[in-house]
């Protein structure tokens, strides 16, 4: 099933993100996904997230698909040139994995192999352009593909609470022109900023899923404020997490905050994308509190 079909049907689309393990044992991850992500329409599989080397996104997508879930193949331009990226797109289509999310990718310097050579032969925009081209039966070198051309639901990301709104809108427009059919956003903690952004983004006519992170602790929030571009967690939310440490530790406060943000943003967007960062077990409670199941 392609995510675009759900958007076309007017569904409020819920996706969640999982990160493959640093190793070859994936059973635990699959069991967790089957247990906690049953009410989620799609499962994003990250591609060596934060430039930390892990099990591959495509292989993990295939395992999740075989387990009955709908994976979204995240693909970054950090580690592969245009030959490898196109090859992986074909491999995905061959395996029936036709939901993709195209990202530029974090720089290698920010991860666990800072010595690695960053590639960035393509970027998020030219990767979307490339996927669109493959759909016409031609590759970037101008050569014809053999047989039926692949078809993808092509997604991209945008950072709605970034201070550089102009930059975000410029890039979003280029992504739409290059073939982006849906958007997932960076984590939103300020619904009013998101709503304002959506007013401007409406012109592109593409469905947007609001990005949600369940805040685990005040420390995590402060860390994100200092280190994650485009993420701002207001002081009131941090105070809320500090008020009752036991409740916060149990995840209750974080789920309350995340559910509240979803409810506030829901009228202005077409879905939600949850980045649970290991807290997959909290997703069922979050969905029910947000009125999504």
């Amino acid at each position: 099933m392609r995510i675009t079909e759900l958007f076309d049907n007017g569904e409020f689309v819920v996706s969640a993100e999982v990160g493959p393990p640093k190793g070859i044992h994936i059973d635990g991850m699959v069991e967790e996904a089957k247990k906690y992500l049953t009410d989620v329409h799609f499962v994003n599989v990250t591609d060596n997230q934060s430039s930390v080397m892990r099990l591959g996104s495509l292989a993990t997508c295939k395992v999740l698909k075989d387990a009955g879930l709908n994976p979204i193949f995240q693909l970054t331009c950090r580690d592969r040139n245009r030959i490898a990226l196109q090859s992986d797109l074909l491999s995905a289509a061959m395996l029936g994995i036709d939901n993709i999310l195209c990202l530029t990718g974090d720089h290698t310097k920010l991860g666990d192999h800072p010595q690695a050579k960053p590639v960035f032969d393509l970027d998020s925009v030219s990767l979307l352009h490339t996927a669109s081209l493959l759909e016409t039966g031609v590759d970037l070198g101008g050569n014809a593909l053999v047989g039926e051309a692949p078809k993808f639901a092509k997604g991209a990301v945008v950072s709605p609470c970034s201070d550089s709104v102009d930059a975000q809108l410029v890039k979003m427009e280029r992504k739409v022109k290059a073939g982006a059919e849906y958007f997932q956003t960076q984590a939103v903690f300020e619904p009013e900023k998101f709503i304002k952004f959506m007013e401007a983004a409406k012109q592109f006519g593409k469905p947007v899923q609001v990005g949600i992170i369940i805040p685990k602790s005040a420390g995590m929030c402060k860390f994100m404020n200092n280190n994650v571009a485009g993420v701002h967690i207001p002081d009131e939310l941090i105070a809320e997490l500090q008020a009752d440490k036991e409740k916060t530790k149990a995840g209750i406060t974080g789920v309350e905050i995340a559910a509240r943000i979803i409810r506030e943003c829901k009228p202005y967007c077409q879905g939600v994308h949850i980045m649970s960062l290991g807290w997959e077990s909290k997703i069922p409670a979050l969905l029910s509190q947000a009125g999504l199941k």
Partner: protein, 212 residues
């Protein structure tokens, strides 16, 4: 050394849609410059009545010197819709910084050759990539001013203070590009088609050598 080659006639014609002021740099001997071809092309633009003035000088990459030399023709430059620059990528970047409010266009691509690279100030770095993107980026080089050398806009790693998350001391090149284009009222430049960086510079180098 490095070598500059002219962009295609159509590309340059599209840059000269209005009145233009032309700056040629015949500066350092380390830069191979296609003088004859450039002259012929500029003559054609003149015959079309597009050129309001021309300055042929050297070392436009030195901002202090450049500012002095631009004093005399400043009135002519003000008349022009754009400034066309025939120089290496460093020259174009320096001129676009000095003439911040004016669209400044590169008419050459700069290709790297082994050997001494000339005397160029580091703050205006040219990657000598063979495919100058400066006309799409307000005269700020996305190859050298962006940690990822992105050619289709900023990534999500720009901090609130406009710095690059990879090198926190460095300003985000794309933030600079967007701010400059915005100040010039030219954000529409960024609505250009998807750019693909061509890493096959063999042909460009060959062509540049032949034309020298």
């Amino acid at each position: 050394m490095l070598i500059t080659k002219l962009k295609s006639e159509e590309a340059i014609a599209s840059l000269a849609s209005g009145k233009v002021f032309i700056i040629n740099c015949h500066g350092c001997k380390e830069v191979g410059f296609p003088e004859e071809e450039a002259k012929a092309l500029q003559k054609k633009l003149e015959s079309e009545g597009k050129v309001v003035g021309t300055l042929t000088t050297d070392y436009v990459c030195n901002p202090t010197e450049l500012s002095l030399r631009l004093r005399a023709p400043m009135a002519k430059i003000a008349e022009a819709d754009a400034v066309l620059v025939f120089s290496c990528g460093v020259g174009v970047q320096t001129i676009s910084e000095v003439l911040e409010d004016k669209p400044v266009y590169a008419c050459c691509d700069t290709v790297e050759l082994p050997g001494f690279q000339g005397v160029t100030p580091l703050e205006y770095d040219c990657g000598q990539c063979g495919e100058c993107f400066l006309n799409l980026t307000g005269g700020i080089c996305p190859i050298t001013a962006c940690s990822k050398s992105l050619v289709n806009g900023p990534c999500g790693g720009t901090s609130d203070s406009g710095k690059c998350e990879v090198c926190p001391d460095m300003e985000c090149g794309w933030e600079r590009i967007i701010q400059r284009l915005k100040a010039q009222g030219r954000l529409d430049v960024l609505k250009c088609p998807t750019q693909l960086h061509d890493f096959n510079t063999d042909e460009a180098t060959k062509a540049a050598k032949e034309s020298e």
